[in-house]
């Protein structure tokens, strides 16, 4: 096996919570990402799923160096991003790019499409002025936009088209790794399908590696080779996408799969629904032992005491004490 393109070792991202404005004091720490180890192979699409507040976006932002990690290593092509100076980091940036959730917020409303897509090219000295126009046109064609719209502003486009612009901008520097944070959750169903097809096509054509962050397990399964499931800042299960989806090991993954409503009335009527109890606990004081034990249908007393270790199976692994 070749070395992974991205190797995350024991990554932790903490946020301090303070109270008061003038004489603010620390009242706690949120461990948004708590000891995550994750390897991403070259050319794969890794789906990162979990519910809101589980730390998936923070993990993605930490890899992008948009969030300062408290501990751990982020090895991108064997270089620890956390150890780099900002100048060194900038020379590496073209190789990993991000697509954000909300295409209304991620594009500057006062910049034309051309300016938005050409900005990274200019910053990194990729193309001269004359060359840039061709380059931007080609990128727009790749994402399914007509190059004649180059001089338009973001507000003249629909949500799906804006997401295409954001994708073109991320592709401009020919990155090796793309992190897409909920790229379709702000879009309507029919538009969502267009963007998902576009992303999967691009990954194949350019041999891209992608981390796809989403709360929607159905979307993630559709695109990914592997799926990692996060709960309260930790990865609780990871493995081959179909295995994780069709035979989940961890009780949380099982609940997550069971909770998805499928557009198939017969299937919906036939299967047993087992909604989870309660809500995700506050990440400010996570439960002891296994973070899932207060909501887990099969938890025993030992689950509150012992932090579970990885249980390995042929195509996936999970952190649960109750797996035989």
């Amino acid at each position: 096996m070749t070395e992974p393109i991205l190797d995350i070792i024991d990554l932790a991202v903490h946020f301090t919570v303070s109270k008061g404005f003038v004489f603010s004091r620390r009242i706690g720490t949120v461990k948004a990402v708590d000891g995550v180890c994750l390897q991403v192979e070259r050319g794969e699409v890794l789906g990162l799923v979990g519910e809101s507040g589980c730390g998936k976006t923070t993990l993605a932002r930490a890899v992008m160096q948009l969030e300062r990690a408290a501990a751990g290593k982020i090895l991108f092509e064997s270089v620890d991003l956390r150890a780099l100076s900002s100048l060194e980091l900038r020379t590496l940036r073209p190789r990993f790019q991000m697509i954000f959730q909300d295409p209304y917020a991620s594009l500057n409303p006062r910049m034309t499409v051309f300016d938005s897509i050409a900005e990274p090219l200019r910053v990194h000295g990729f193309a001269g002025r004359a060359h840039a126009k061709e380059h931007v046109g080609a990128l727009m064609e790749q994402v399914g936009l007509a190059p004649r719209f180059m001089r338009k502003y973001p507000h003249e486009f629909s949500g799906g088209q804006r997401q295409r612009i954001a994708i073109a901008r991320a592709l401009a520097l020919e990155p090796k790794l793309i992190i897409a944070d909920e790229p379709v959750s702000a879009l309507d169903v029919s538009v969502q399908a267009q963007i998902l097809n576009l992303l999967s096509g691009l990954c194949k054509d350019h041999a891209l590696t992608m981390i796809l962050v989403s709360h929607d397990l159905a979307v993630v399964r559709h695109l990914s080779h592997r799926i990692a499931v996060m709960y309260l800042g930790k990865i609780v299960e990871i493995g081959d996408a179909e295995s994780v989806f069709t035979s989940p090991l961890h009780p949380y993954t099982q609940a997550l799969v069971n909770a998805i409503p499928w557009p198939d009335p017969d299937y919906e009527a036939a299967r047993e629904k087992k909604p989870l109890r309660g809500d995700q606990p506050s990440p400010m004081n996570p439960p002891s032992g296994c973070p899932f034990h207060p909501r887990c249908p099969i938890a025993g007393p030992e689950c509150a005491r012992t932090v579970p270790d990885w249980v390995e199976r042929a195509r996936q692994r999970a952190t649960c004490l109750k797996i035989e």
């Binding site: 519910e51 169903v189 399964r221 559709h222 609940a255 409503p261 989870l276 809500d279």
Partner: protein
């Protein structure tokens, strides 16, 4: 006997930029005890239709241009504000998408849950409070008696939606209108809330109109489904029939564009083009410009919803003519 009979409802918004035809002549019935799902993408007019029934359309700019909505012996669309007030929150309740904006942040939950009781029934505060406690218990909120004194921000998203449900159910309404009740929630919480709503419905023998863009939620909860597009109903059928013998090309396209439960597909089906601009009048079928089966006839006149097999109606002239 149907509980609610809507005939030819038209709601327009008269804006500075022209007339927006949000709901363009829809007719449907709701029988006692049944769940009718209204599914459609954003801008299809599903929420406006529901709000029109309860007189919740801001006027100006909104205006109900025509139609009747018979609820018992009363026409909701031609009732005075006073008459409507006697029905809203008593015989018909509504749940909204975002429980944070639907609840008043300055009022305790107890006060808000008792409000409909005090407004509609001769009921002392102490009685109302006791009933509110029971209502919170019935929607699965622990320590209900204590939590009556809490404010909405002290509840999680799922809990707030439970509070909304308790508030909507406390008067024992005959009809509940739920507008995207789970869209803002995580999947595991969504599963809990959908279960809860079904349970409450059986207990109170109540009819429900469930508005959603998610065909999975429809499949999980509804008895009958209306598919809306550009302010019109394009297809209406009992749940299983809609999924098994989908008639209208739009419904077919919508279903094909969702990731399937059974297999991890390659490319998703995408609907070309975009929904029509609601501020221009549409001749013929609103879906014709995006439809793979459209012929010249589809672009003229008005196309009415017609029964094509028992209990199954569609607004596609080619299906009506037996061509598709």
């Amino acid at each position: 006997m149907s509980l609610l009979e809507v005939k030819d409802l038209k709601t327009y918004f008269h804006t500075r930029h022209g007339v927006v035809r949000a709901v363009e002549g829809i007719s449907f019935d709701v029988n006692s005890g049944e769940t009718v799902g209204i599914v459609g993408e954003s801008g299809s007019g599903k929420s406006v239709a529901a709000c029109s029934l309860l007189g919740l359309i801001p006027s100006p700019p909104g205006r109900i241009e025509s139609g009747r909505a018979l609820f018992g012996d009363r026409d909701l669309l031609h009732s005075t504000e006073r008459e409507l007030r006697a029905i809203r929150g008593k015989r018909i309740s509504m749940i909204f998408q975002d429980p944070m904006t639907a609840l008043n942040p300055y009022m305790t939950v107890g006060k808000q849950v008792t409000e409909p009781l005090i407004a509609h029934e001769p009921c002392s505060r102490a009685d109302a409070r006791a009933k509110a406690g029971e209502a919170l218990v019935s929607v699965g909120i622990q320590d209900a008696a204590l939590r009556l004194n809490d404010y909405p921000h002290q509840f999680s998203g799922g809990m707030r939606q439970r509070v909304m449900i308790a508030m909507a159910m406390i008067t024992g309404p005959e009809l509940l209108i739920a507008d995207e009740p789970t869209t803002a929630l995580d999947v595991t919480v969504q599963a809990q809330i959908l279960e809860l709503m079904k349970e409450m419905q059986t207990r109170l023998q109540m009819a429900m109109i469930l508005i959603t863009h998610n065909l999975g939620v429809i499949a999980r909860t509804c008895d009958r489904v209306l598919v809306m597009y550009a302010g019109r109903i394009l297809e209406s059928a009992p749940l299983r029939m809609l999924f098994r013998e989908t008639k209208h090309p739009y419904t077919q396209a919508l279903m094909a564009s969702m990731p399937s439960v059974h297999a991890k597909g390659g490319t998703l089906y995408t609907i070309p083009g975009m929904p029509p601009d609601p501020s221009s009048e549409i001749a013929g079928c609103p879906f014709a410009p995006r439809c793979a089966h459209a012929v010249e006839r589809c672009r003229h006149g008005t196309i009415a919803l017609q029964e094509v097999s028992p209990d199954h109606s569609t607004a596609c002239i080619r299906v009506q003519a037996g061509e598709l």
